[in-house]
Amino acid sequence: METPMMYYIVISLVMFFAGVYGFMTRKNMLMMLISIELMLNAVDINFAVFNRFLFPGQMEGMIFSIFAIAIAAAETAIAIAIIINIYRHIRNIDADNLDDMKY
């Protein structure tokens, strides 16, 4: 375990902001979803890393990561169901086109 904590954190940082970048620039909803997954993953890493390096005797961070993964799975399932449904309706999954219900 010689690798310092900061190294891990830098990785997750890059990953997170890659997700942010993707979320901001892409229109395709699936791509947005992928970006979200990236961000979630980066956060999960952080939880695990902080747990491991700062509070090695406990496991709250890890458990949290596990729950986060489970919930991410659920969220993805719903999101994809919605996206497919939208695709059936408008043959397109660009976020910009979804403005029928806006004020």
Partner: protein, 170 residues
């Protein structure tokens, strides 16, 4: 997992390189299927990180749920909603530059904050065993998580039903 420090170093750098490169590629490529593939690599490398942290259970969950479950969903949905080889439309240049600036600014700010923060302890101890994790997940005492566990199970059930309801053909 007892590895030589050097080997550990090498593996870490390798994983780090895969994560950084693949996550950037995942959000920049214009072919959506490729993006999913890069995401897969990122997720797998993340699992590798977990293994390196001695969180083997977390790593296996990562692989099983993310790489195995979610990604398959992605791939299916991509195949359902787009044609192979089709490229998504290009987003505008200003938007991309702005996004890039914002992302870099974010990295710099957060990085600065993280690097200047005086981390208190970096003591490294033993990681918990899967048995302990199992007890923690279904125990009802302090630092044990039966209730969230059950809540998540209900959530997942709800999600399954919800997803079916939403996506089914009428």
């Amino acid at each position: 997992m007892e590895l030589l420090p050097l080997a550990q170093q090498v593996i870490f750098y390798l994983l780090a390189a895969v994560i950084v490169i693949c996550s950037i590629l995942a959000v920049t490529t214009r072919r959506i299927l490729r993006a999913a593939t890069y995401l897969l690599f990122t997720l797998l490398a993340t699992a590798g990180i977990y293994f390196m942290l001695d969180y083997t259970f977390l790593g296996s969950v990562q692989i099983a749920v993310y790489a195995g479950g979610i990604l398959v969903l992605f791939v299916f949905s991509i195949l359902l909603t787009s044609h192979p080889g089709e490229e998504t439309e290009k987003s505008s240049k200003t938007k991309r530059i702005l996004g890039l600036i914002a992302a870099i600014a974010g990295i710099v700010t957060c990085g600065y904050a993280l690097f200047t923060y005086p981390w208190s302890s970096t003591a490294v101890g033993e990681a918990q065993s899967i048995q302990q994790i199992g007890h923690a997940l279904i125990g009802m005492e302090k630092f044990q998580y039966l209730l969230p566990f059950e809540a998540v199970s209900v959530l997942l059930l709800a999600c399954i039903i919800g997803a079916i309801m939403i996506a089914r053909k009428r």
